[in-house]
Subunit: 246 residues, 2 copies
Amino acid sequence: MTSSEQEFLNNYHPEDYEKPSVAVDLLVFTIEEAALKLVMIRREEMPFQNKLALPGVFVNIRESLEEAAYRGIEEETGLTDIYLEQLYTWGDLERDPRMRIISVSYMALVPIHKIHLSKGKRTTQVSLYPVEELLAEETEIAFDHKKMIACARERIKNKTEYTDVAFAFLPEEFTLPQLQRIYEILLGKELYKANFRKKIKDLVEETEHYTTGVSHRPSQYYRRKGNGEEVGKNEQMESISESGNR
Amino acid sequence: MTSSEQEFLNNYHPEDYEKPSVAVDLLVFTIEEAALKLVMIRREEMPFQNKLALPGVFVNIRESLEEAAYRGIEEETGLTDIYLEQLYTWGDLERDPRMRIISVSYMALVPIHKIHLSKGKRTTQVSLYPVEELLAEETEIAFDHKKMIACARERIKNKTEYTDVAFAFLPEEFTLPQLQRIYEILLGKELYKANFRKKIKDLVEETEHYTTGVSHRPSQYYRRKGNGEEVGKNEQMESISESGNR
DNA sequence: ACAATAGTGTCTGTGAGACAGTATCGA
DNA sequence: TCGATACTGTCTCACAGACACTATTGT
């Protein structure tokens, strides 16, 4: 802050100035039926009435951005304890026709078995939609949320290549074919079994369990190898360095 | 936004609620004397009096975040037309002891020959400091700005590995030893000449010029090969996907 | 036996890393 | 000629990609 801002601040009374509102918009991703899906709500009011939009909440003066994001996700979906990551902050003037809102987008990655949309406190229509559909040319999405979705989709793809994010979509124990399917969906391309296994072999460890009742060779269950930190807890500013489109 | 937020919004009058203030904090990087340096100001007021801080401005209700960032950078340093990228948004409650401020950090990468700190409109003490020093354990920095610096430093390192950001620190024409030096400073390690050249050969094209007056073999000047878009213009949400710590 | 999926062995090409060698200037 | 830096050729090793092969279940 410059010294003139400093002076400004010393005589500063919030009431005197018009401030933008600050919100968080939430991108809760999961994988269901071999598709990457997103929690969306159907808007009931103008503007963008009946259009799909991302869930979001305003940031309370007494909560951090991350707290607001967790609160919003719990209110909409009942989820707690999940992988959460800040993505980008959207501040264009015309993002919302009613008023100036600056919105910080957060992305959550959740295994489908943890999602019970009915558990949210809200009565709004909340459901899962395939990201592919949401991004389609002809699909209309409220506000600048389509851009947010495109942005998050890209980010997931990139992070899949150099981190463990894929595990966030699976339960504790999983088979390698399951894991590979997750990677394929996130990357949008098929992988070779043998090569895939070589690549991730250090990230997982065997269990004693096998799939049963399948009419072919059963598959062994694995779990993540305890390489220190878990996927599922936010790490500060993690989005940053990293990240970047290639 | 949920329908209940929708209702909320319909009865919403800004005066009724306390909103956080929104600012942008600016990380203007350059390379000088074989060191990565940052434009910092010396605070003249409490809190953090006499401590170093990042330059920053409040976001006006009628300007976008990016516009605010460009405005701030021009006011402090006189720079215009530069590489700019959003990094992260900091929203903890206690970031500023005086009031709730949410701050969006932006990073600019500038060749040293373009920087003339005197050209800023502000009278504040503005100068360049080596990032190494700023990040040192014993250096005190105002607010949470040290975290911002650490974060940006990491991001630059990562982006250097898979993008062209290094070019942002150089003039139009440059020699390959110069370019290599930039990479070495950004990555924090020495590189092998031959390997480096193999890696970047597709990114550059020769010019006719050579260095002169050096008491050893002269070095040929190169320029960036016109691979479409330039480094120096912001690309939307570029920070996101990619990015990420490894 | 066969369909179906799980899981493994191995060849090949590419590219990073390491190092040794040659080139061209001023003094 | 020498010191200094620019620039190039090439070996090695690790790893991604591609493909062929073996293994184990239910019917």
